[in-house]
Amino acid sequence: MANWKKAPIREALGKTLVELGDRYPQVLVVNADLRNSVKSIYFMEKYPDRTIEVGIAEQNMIGVAAGLASLGFIPFAVTFARFASKRAADQISMSVDYCRNNVKIIGAYAGIFTGAQGVSQQMIDDTAAMRAMPNMTVIDTADVHEVRSALLFAAEFSGPVYIRIGRDEWPVVFDETYTFELGKGRWLREGSDVVLLNSGILLPYAVEAAELLESEGISAGVVNMPSIKPIDAALINDISRNVGAIVTLEAHNVQGGFGSAVAEVTAANYPVPIEMIGLRNEYSESAPNDALLEKHHLNPPWIAAAAKRALDRKNRLRC
């Protein structure tokens, strides 16, 4: 098994916000009383005059950010994914997405690995809501380097962006040279029987599952696809045609999220069997990450089992 170094994801968020502040004078951070948790406190300490604090008022957070953007600022509205996506959903739809205001919405504490605090601090259906908005760019992130790179991208990119970000100490898959590319997935590992197509924080487990499968003689590729919208249809088509069996992975409900976005592409081009790893239309609970990984079947053995199911179906279809 891979022996991962670990690094705390929210620290990467906090530090990268400071880096953005250093690089781009137009970048502001808009907080809704979660600076300590999401680590935007670092930005506030360095750039108090570029920090807006609205208190516990996420609807206002989004509207204010839209107004700030209209004068040329690049506001990063940073809070937990639940509050970032759901608490101000109509404001995001009207004042940000429809109007294409240049607001960056950072959904920290996305998914279920959020410090054992339970359902209200987790978020498993934000991707579904955000990617259904016509103008939104939706990105999920896997490790500290992808977090940093996605944030840098968002500052440069003109238009509304939503980024899902985890919280805890987490395996580091990439390194400093990693660069997020909009609308592009990337092979981490070749494979010809089945491809594990990941978006977000389950990436290390995809890699481990591929190793498991290899040990059983199954050639499993691993592709990382942080860009959920726009999605890399060309790469998905390649995989569909050339490999023909897919497992999608996300820390999100399997209904409506990344897996669903992949299924849309395959259905529209080359239909192939897909197994989806994620929350199986269920909420999670308060518990340590390991326990949740196991409970929700997000562990490498479960991923490997899903890969075998996909492969089986592919083989059956082919005869």
């Binding site: 208190g55 609807q59 509207g63 204010v64 107004g67 700030l68 506001p75 109007c99």
Partner: protein
């Protein structure tokens, strides 16, 4: 007889000017002319929110002819004041005011709500450059205006943010979130104007949650409040002026208005929140408005106004 009202104000440029009764009469004329366009368009198109549009005519005419700083030739002039119509369903009235001010052509009103028209059912910044923010989902405009006002302060720009809300709209929690943060940031470059017409969408008012004591609410949220009759142009202009003089606090003007103002059968009738006019009703409305227009006709000339960029 026309006399000097002896009301000395300063304009947005800081220049003193005296509010003469001719000037007021001229604005009144413009208001009635706008009302005519509203009811004509309503009749022609067969759709639109007449009551909410007629309610705010004086507020908007005063804004666009006397108060707002903008460049008629460039809707996106960076230093313009920002006006946000948070009650986006007042679109018809807003478009008629823009037409009156010459920012769009009057005949464009005939395209209201038709395919490809810039005049969407609710004001829409994707279609019409004079619109700062698409609204129609109530309760969102003030937050945006707060963002504008904070941004202006951070950029040391002298521009002001104006936001017009409905009274019913103030039942939205988003409005109070915005109000709280505006007070916190001491946004004296922000003016909220509430078109208080004591009616909203519902049929009878008694069943709605009451907003009173309304001024007290805003005061408790840290705002300077000014209450006026929002159809009294002099009061409106003085209130705009007073708001500009108020420092360290945002100001809200509570304009006690009449929904459907200026068309007798529409006044204070919730039925005229939406709804369309028959030929007969249109005639009645026109007669009423035309009568006032002819009374005011001697003040029709632009020379009585100012600021005709």
């Amino acid at each position: 007889m026309v006399s000097d009202l002896s009301v000395l104000l300063t304009d947005r440029q800081g220049q003193p000017y005296s509010l003469t009764s001719e000037r007021i009469k001229h604005l009144e004329y413009l208001c009635e002319s706008t009302r005519r366009d509203i009811v004509d368009t309503l009749y022609k198109i067969g759709r639109g929110h007449a009551g909410p549009s007629l309610s705010m005519v004086e507020l908007l005419i005063s804004l666009y002819f006397e108060e707002l700083r903008f460049d008629p030739s460039d809707p996106k002039w960076p230093d313009r004041d920002r006006f946000i119509l948070s009650k986006g369903h007042g679109s018809l009235g807003y478009y008629a005011v823009l037409a009156q001010r010459g920012l769009i052509e009057k005949r464009e009103l005939d395209t209201f709500e038709s395919l490809g028209s810039r005049l969407q059912g609710h004001v829409d910044s994707n279609w019409l450059p004079w619109v700062e923010l698409t609204t129609g989902s109530l309760g969102q405009g003030l937050s945006y205006a707060v963002g504008v006002a904070i941004a202006a302060k951070r950029q040391a720009k002298d521009l002001r943010a104006y936001c017009l809300l409905g009274d019913g709209e103030c039942q939205e929690g988003n409005v109070w979130e915005a109000a709280m943060s505006a007070a916190k940031y001491r946004l004296d470059n922000l003016l909220a104007i509430v078109d208080w017409n004591n009616l909203q969408g519902g049929v009878t008012l008694e069943v709605m949650p009451s907003l009173e004591p309304f001024a007290l609410k805003w005061q408790a949220f840290g705002w300077h409040t000014i209450e006026i009759n929002g159809h009294d142009l002099q009061a409106v202009l003085q209130a705009y002026h007073q708001a500009r003089q108020t420092k360290e606090k945002p100001t809200v003007i509570i304009a006690r208005n009449i929904k459907g103002k200026g068309v007798s059968y529409m006044e204070n009738k919730v039925e005229w929140h939406g709804g369309t006019v028959t030929k007969e009703l249109h005639q009645i409305a026109l007669e009423e408005i035309n009568a006032r227009l002819s009374e005011l006709s001697q003040y029709a000339d632009e020379k009585y106004g100012r600021n005709h960029g």
